[in-house]
């Protein structure tokens, strides 16, 4: 039978824990907000660059640039898997990894995986899959310059014919409650099917289409990858926050129990 003083002390410590977790909640909320804002702010740029590239691709055709060329089917592809560095992010990583492995099965023989984030690398290594390159995650505040190394690796492999295409697999941030793994074909660049009703060949390109494309392509690849990084960060934060709030509501019940005594 604990003494009255011990019980009081216990109540006090539970109250302290509540205060600490509340402070942590505010920190997490601001991180989540920042990740979300960064993702949403990057979308208009990504969307517009997609449009222009697709228009250019339809003007230039497959012969226009090596990055537009479609290699024969069945050739080995590169799959880039975006995961988080840290755990406690719910089913986010396992969903992504499962999705990537399915993609790997349908891709041609000899296709390889590049991982971003520790979780993807660890899971694939455990499963005995071959990883051609592993990048660490980009942290809570990814910067645009961080992706340059990956960009030159991907473009180099594609141009030298080592890979016949690049697919990005990252979660799409739909809302704090919904995130879905998504496969995006990065290379070769697909010509626009033209849903907007403005065929690309009506655009006047200055100085000429090839020069515009040359200036745009590295930017395009980097933008797409950066966007994958941002989406992953936003999904990681919201998935983790969701888990936390579940735990919080369980804990609060015990706090109330402690406080009412």
């Amino acid at each position: 039978m604990p003494s009255q003083r011990e019980i009081r002390r216990r109540i006090g410590s539970v109250k302290n824990i509540r205060q600490i977790t509340r402070a942590m909640q505010f920190v997490a909320a601001s991180k989540l907000k920042r990740a979300q804002d960064a993702t949403l702010a990057s979308r208009p740029y990504g969307h517009s660059i997609d449009e222009v590239i697709a228009d250019l691709a339809s003007v230039l055709g497959e012969e226009g640039h090596p990055l537009l060329r479609t290699p024969e089917s069945g050739a080995p592809r590169t799959i880039v898997l975006f995961t988080t560095d840290r755990g406690l992010a719910g089913a986010l990583n396992s969903n992504l990894i499962r999705f990537a492995l399915k993609e790997l099965e349908t891709a041609g023989a000899g296709s390889t995986i590049i991982t971003i984030g520790k979780k993807g690398r660890d899971a694939l290594a455990r499963g005995g899959y071959e990883i051609s390159a592993a990048f660490p995650g980009y942290g809570d505040k990814p910067a645009f310059g961080d992706v340059t190394a990956l960009v030159s690796l991907l473009v180099g492999d594609f141009l030298s014919g080592r890979s016949a295409g690049v697919t990005l697999i990252h979660p799409a941030f739909i809302s704090t409650l919904t995130q879905r793994p998504e496969a995006v074909q990065l290379l070769p660049i697909k010509a626009s099917a033209d849903t907007a009703g403005i065929p690309g060949n009506q655009f006047l390109f200055e100085p000429d289409p090839a020069a515009v494309l040359e200036a745009l392509l590295p930017r395009y690849v980097a933008t797409r990858i950066f966007q994958g990084v941002l989406e992953t960060t936003a999904c990681e934060q919201s998935s983790r926050e969701r888990n936390r709030s579940k735990g919080r509501s369980r804990r609060n019940r015990s706090f109330d129990y402690g406080a009412s005594r």
């Binding site: 907007a196 403005i198 009506q202 200055e206 100085p207 515009v212 930017r219």
Partner: protein, 138 residues
């Protein structure tokens, strides 16, 4: 008749709204865009852009790199960086400028890559200063 203008960078949407004219720095000199411009795509250089708002007032914007796409329904500027003169912090730019100048003057011991970086940040600082000046003169 105005047109819809969007200026976006990888990090943010810098400007969105109706405009009656736009001047942009391209790699081959300045280009002016008025309503009903034909569909057009070009590569941007670094320089000063001018947005004429509906009331005739002019907004100055420092643009570095990227490209512009003129569509029938709207004009989209995709810049690597775009800063309105009102958003530029002169003190911070001066600091970046002197840091870049110091890096260049000590260039004897440096590798070409960091020298190039210093040169780039110097010309960026000079451009930002020029655009920030615009606001004060007005």
């Amino acid at each position: 008749m105005p047109f819809t203008l969007e200026i976006v960078t990888p990090e943010r949407l810098a400007w969105k709204g109706e405009a009656s004219a736009l001047v942009l720095p391209t790699i081959d000199g300045e280009v002016g865009i008025l309503p009903k411009h034909e569909p057009y795509v070009t590569v941007l250089g670094a320089g000063e852009g001018r947005i004429t708002a509906l009331d005739g007032s002019i907004e100055y914007i420092a643009i570095i790199g990227g490209f512009v796409q003129v569509r029938p329904d709207r004009v989209v500027v995709l810049a690597e960086s775009a800063d309105l003169s009102g958003e530029l912090d002169t003190a911070a730019i001066e600091k970046a400028k002197s840091a870049a100048e110091a890096a260049i003057s000590g260039a004897g011991t440096q590798d070409p890559a960091s020298l190039a970086t210093a040169r780039a940040s110097l010309s960026r600082a000079l451009l930002h200063l020029r655009v920030a000046e615009r606001r004060r003169k007005r």
